[in-house]
Amino acid sequence: MTCKDAIAVLADYLEAAMSPELLAQLEQHLHDCAPCRAYLATYRKTKSLAAGASRVEMPEEMKLRLRDFLLTQLRAGR
């Protein structure tokens, strides 16, 4: 397995969605290849960071505006 092959299957690896044969090949490659170990570690961390940065909360004043907007629309439609 080359680095290109290994990096191509990292998403499947994180989801534990690989055949036992491919998994064994990847684990052997990771054992032998420091750049791919670094790639995997930073890929995994990136996934977590992007999720963390994107977990935004709806501002409270926006919730109130949405409620007022929907009530107005509902009343207008009745």
């Binding site: 963390g52 994107s54 909360e57 629309q73």
Partner: protein
Amino acid sequence: MVETDDRTLLDCAVAGDVSALEKLMSRHPGRVYRLAYGIARNQADAEEIVQDVFLSMVRKGASFEGHAALTSWMYRVTTNVALNKRRGKRRELEVSLEEHLPTYKEDGHRDGDRSYVLADWSGTPEQKLLSGETRRILEEAIDTLPDHYRAVLILRDVEELSNEEVAETVNDSLGSVKSRLHRARMALREQLTRYLGPQP
């Protein structure tokens, strides 16, 4: 206590029951806003998207069968409305995405400076990485992902839908969704590594 299901609440809201509408709104706006903001990347557009989605929901009323149906519908409609809103604002970014993917030698092994390909900043605490300049770099990298890539990333990594559910939500093949997700993560990783590593 058994919670009133979404369909009953919707029926009541459509009939003018304010408390039913409020209960419904306490359950769902968070995920609709997160997804809308995640794709649109600005608060004003996200607010309009959330309004459109909820207005459409209360107008559709009883055509939903239950919580799962409503949740799937909300993800689908929010994604569509957000992507439509982005249309026209989209920049030509596919080329820059290619620039952020790893490069290889002819034999398939990593190309590039050894200290760069060995850079591993994953031991830095997440809280530290999500503050200051690193956060800005990450936000900018997310901003510049092509819209359809960003939508898949948010649905999978933030909303934690399965790949199959994401494919259904964006009406695309499973293979395409998996490819976009992987390329989006790789593009973000590359930009973070250019900033964070190699460490001296």
